[in-house]
């Protein structure tokens, strides 16, 4: 019979730790936390978007507004840009606004007025307007105070 020999096996943990630290260093150095991205979702149909958009939402609301023709429920906002692409002026019908605050105030009035049927908007923009400024306008529309989330876009022909 073989005699059992009690042998102690020592696992070398140091190389593994070295490697683990190297991996850790790599990941820490390459780590770039992703900033939180949000999004605005919208349905944009090819021709006369505002009218078709209403069709897609037929099932969601059966209020009296759905009986109003879509073009009457669509608010048109025009955005004019400066030469550098920044936002110069916004207008709704005859009213011109120089700042987003003014636009927001007017939109809040429109939304609060129950006699006005507007629940969607078409943003007509100058071709040169920077996306950043367009997004600021979209932000006003989609924000909690106004809440018009059905938007579509149009390009203003050259002035």
């Amino acid at each position: 019979m073989k005699k059992m020999k009690h042998e102690e096996v020592e696992v070398q943990i140091t190389p593994m730790l070295d490697m683990a630290f190297q991996l850790l260093t790599f990941f820490i150095l390459t780590f770039r936390p992703m900033p939180t991205e949000g999004q605005f979702s919208m349905n944009l149909l090819p021709s006369s978007p505002s009218i078709d958009m209403a069709k897609t939402d037929k099932t969601t609301d059966a209020t009296d507004s759905s009986e109003t023709p879509a073009f009457l429920r669509t608010l048109t906002v025009q955005l004019k840009s400066n030469l550098d692409g920044s936002l110069a002026e916004m207008s709704i019908g005859e009213n011109d606004f120089q700042s987003l605050e003014q636009l927001k105030t007017r939109l809040k009035e429109i939304v609060a007025d129950k006699t006005l049927p507007f629940d969607q908007a078409v943003i007509q923009s100058d071709p040169g307007l920077r996306y950043e400024d367009l997004m600021r306008v979209i932000d006003v529309f989609a924000g909690p105070e106004v809440g018009i989330t059905k938007l579509s876009f149009n390009e203003m022909s050259g002035v």
Binding site: A20, F31, S41, M42, P127, R130, Y131, E132
Partner: protein
């Protein structure tokens, strides 16, 4: 003090908890690393919009992400495409979507809208006309669902 003068003192710290922590850290960084490797181009500086809603839950599988740089060029697989190539690529993508749907037996006729969401990640300095050109091109190809990406806060 306690040991004899000639005796060798062997200090063997217990490495196992340290190794555990290190592995946990590695796991964390590996998982975060994978997320940032998604189809998000770092060259695109998104505009800021406070009311842009973060995508809740798992994002829809069926989406086409378009990264558009400051010059209005489409960034596709790390390469920036000029307008002709970009339009060609959009056409190819819509054909692929249709083919995919056909394979899944959910065929969409030519005039019918496609269920795929086109996600726009456009640089904040792009003029509106460039964005609009891509939007209309996508609409012509049958895409109707759009999402405009923006940073949720100033951070």
């Amino acid at each position: 003090m306690g040991g004899s003068a000639s005796g060798e003192i062997k200090a063997e710290p217990n490495m196992t908890p340290l190794l555990d922590v290190v592995f946990q850290l590695i796991t964390f960084f590996m998982m975060v690393f994978k997320i940032s490797g998604e189809n998000y181009d770092q060259r695109v500086r998104l505009p800021v919009a406070g009311s842009a809603r973060p995508v809740e839950g798992k994002p829809a599988e069926d989406r086409l992400i378009l990264n558009i740089d400051g010059k209005g060029q489409l960034l596709w697989n790390g390469e920036s495409l000029d307008i002709d190539r970009a339009m060609k690529e959009l056409r190819t993508q819509s054909q692929l979507v249709r083919l995919n749907l056909k394979i899944q037996k959910k065929e969409v006729a030519d005039g019918e809208p496609l269920p795929t969401t086109v996600v726009f990640r456009a640089d904040k300095n792009v003029p509106f006309t460039q964005i609009y050109r891509y939007i209309t091109a996508c609409q012509t190809q049958g895409f109707v669902k759009f999402a405009l990406k923006a940073m949720s806060g100033e951070g």
